[in-house]
């Protein structure tokens, strides 16, 4: 008989907040909250903030009173720092497994099936991982284990929720599994969203256990194959594979809120050009081309007393491209079409979709006039651009991005880039 797989899920606790606390140990145990790009909304919360009932994504002004009352420490998001700390965590995790999938900035699946010390004593191995990460990076993590990814996720959830687990839980044992599943609500299962939960509840399926005992065939008929697979995974049958390499993105979105309201088309064009540049860079980095460019603009939906407007426009390209100039040209003409004067715009963005791998230079449609006047898709030029910009960040830009960057998001409470800038190191006395 084949050995049962053992998948580990390592997930950092309150990752962004933990990153800040590594360099600000005085904030350990105090309420800490991180704000989105424009210091507008809550994007991460320490446990102390969660306990106060502050929800993810709420605008700061709505909870300002709680912030003052409990002296919640606020930070702007410092993605440079988080990316560096994430890379450290992931690189250390590689020492524990021959095979792993980085699932997000703060979590990774580890294939521990053939790892001898884990086979001997999974809990001790999990503790070793936990201690190594905490000690060497300062980031606390929890480890969940099980024969499938879904069970590893569930184990991790329980390890986080219940202190008695010591931050490590193994769900390989079916009896222990059943016990846990009977007390966990079904919406905690990986991949079960809000809509599915609603419908499951209507069918009387409340706990994870209720879902696990359903016949996968019935579930597939009533829901879809994804939910059916989840049921199989909950029963220990692996139906989701470990992906060694993260899949290329099928959609690339670049959008930001502005630091101040933009009213002029020209200003919006400059911002949008920059987002297009970034999106195109991402596209080329994964060696893909796009056939579809969407643009959106909107006013601030929370400024209820002000006139509201939002529009989006999508252009389907006849020839796939990875050329920044083409993408900017298309995006700017869309922007012109949807722009209306008289509004204070708070956000705009570009989305590239219909993405596929770049093969040999794509050919323009001979009879298509929409390409007329477009610069030819110049792969070599774009490669040169990327090479220069990788070496000397933002050295070469498309002129439509402009030089006045006063619309850039504010990040007034950003912490130092402790790990990537010599001038911003933490000070010790």
């Amino acid at each position: 008989m084949m050995e049962q797989a053992r998948i580990g899920l390592v997930d950092c606790n309150n990752f962004y907040v933990s990153c800040e606390r590594v360099f600000r140990p005085d904030l350990i145990g105090k309420p800490v909250m991180l704000l989105s790009n424009n210091d507008g909304c809550v994007v991460a919360r320490s446990q102390e903030v969660k306990d106060l009932g502050i929800k993810m994504g709420v605008p700061l002004f709505q909870v300002q009173q709680l912030v003052n009352q409990h002296q919640i420490q606020l930070f702007s998001s410092n993605y440079t720092l988080y990316a560096d700390m994430s890379a450290r965590v992931m690189s250390l995790l590689e020492e524990f497994t021959p095979r792993m999938e980085v699932y997000s900035i703060d979590e990774a699946f580890l294939d521990l099936t053939a790892v001898y010390p884990c086979y001997q004593d999974p809990i001790a191995y999990g503790q070793r991982i936990r201690k190594a990460i905490a000690r060497q990076t300062g980031i606390p993590v929890c480890v969940g284990m099980g024969p499938t990814k879904t069970l590893a996720k569930l184990a991790n959830f329980a390890a986080k929720k219940w202190k008695q687990t010591g931050g490590v839980l193994d769900l390989s044992d079916p009896i222990r599994r059943e016990k846990l599943m009977k007390i966990v609500p079904v919406d905690e299962v990986w991949g079960i969203g809000r809509q599915t939960t609603k419908r499951l509840n209507q069918l009387g399926i409340q706990t994870v256990w209720d879902l696990a005992i359903q016949p996968p065939k019935t579930i597939q008929a009533q829901f879809n194959v994804v939910v059916a697979r989840t049921v199989m995974e909950l029963n220990g049958t692996a139906s989701l594979d470990l992906e060694d390499v993260a899949a290329d993105k099928q959609q690339i979105v670049c959008s930001r809120s502005f630091s101040r309201k933009l009213t002029e088309l020209e200003e919006l064009s400059r911002a949008l050009s920059e987002y297009c540049t970034r999106a195109a860079e991402k596209l080329r980095r994964q060696q893909s081309v796009t056939c579809c460019v969407s643009v959106f603009i909107r006013t601030n939906p929370f400024a209820v007393q002000e006139p509201q407007y939002q529009r989006a426009a999508t252009v389907k390209l006849d020839a796939a491209t990875q050329d920044t100039r083409v993408i900017i040209r298309v995006a700017l003409s869309s922007l012109k079409a949807i722009y209306k004067p008289g509004f204070g715009y708070q956000k705009c963005g570009v989305q590239l979709s219909a993405i596929r791998p770049a093969v040999s230079p794509s050919q323009f449609d001979l009879f298509d006039l929409s390409c007329e006047g477009m610069p030819p898709d110049n792969t070599a030029l774009m490669q040169t651009l990327d090479t220069i910009n990788r070496r000397f960040p933002k050295a070469v830009t498309i002129a439509s991005s402009g030089f006045d960057k006063s619309w850039k998001p504010k990040a007034e409470r950003i912490s130092q880039r402790y790990t990537t800038d010599w001038r911003e190191l933490v000070v010790v006395r």
Binding site: P25, V89, S91, T137, R390, R417, T419, W422, V428
Partner: protein, 163 residues
């Protein structure tokens, strides 16, 4: 190029370029993918003026990261402030290389969070008690008693001191 000056500051990726113009020359930082500064080691003297036949004898490149850092993922740089560690050769504004993967050992210079503040001191055991000792007689020892909240942060492995 003012090589001596730039040397200690190129061993890790610096996301922000330093002032761009020096001596009329553009002065850039290496991109992330080329984060180490490599200098070839020649086994013979190099004469100026014509290509050296010794070029064929290049042995290896010297890598400061290799010298200073054993575990990159667990290594952090911090900046020292104050004069409490002068006796250990740590001057105000020096950069310390801190390895978090090393166990706290007596007589090592360590970084600790004491009541939430990061401090650099020598960790010692005296009369059966752990203490943080300053390397400057002007500062008293800090006995690590129960009422002090002390968290070990890392072990200092090197000091980068400009001369």
């Amino acid at each position: 190029m003012p090589m001596t000056e730039s040397l200690p500051f190129s061993i890790l990726n610096a996301a922000q370029p330093l002032p761009p113009i020096r001596d009329g020359l553009a002065w850039f930082h290496l991109a992330k993918s080329e984060k180490t500064l490599r200098l070839p080691l020649f086994i013979s003297k190099v004469a100026a003026g014509f290509p050296s036949p010794a070029d064929d004898y290049v042995e290896k490149t010297l890598d400061l990261e290799e010298l200073l850092i054993q575990k990159p993922a667990a290594t952090f740089f911090v900046r020292a402030q104050g004069d409490s560690m002068l006796g250990a050769g740590i001057h105000p504004n020096d950069i310390l290389v801190v390895d978090r993967s090393r166990e706290p050992m007596p007589d090592k210079i360590v970084i600790c969070a004491v009541n939430g503040e990061l401090t650099v001191k020598r960790l010692i055991v005296a009369d059966g008690q752990w203490r943080l000792k300053a390397e400057n007689p002007a500062y008293p020892d800090i006995p690590l008693t129960e009422d002090l909240e002390t968290v070990f942060w890392g072990t200092v492995t090197n000091v980068i001191h400009p001369v």
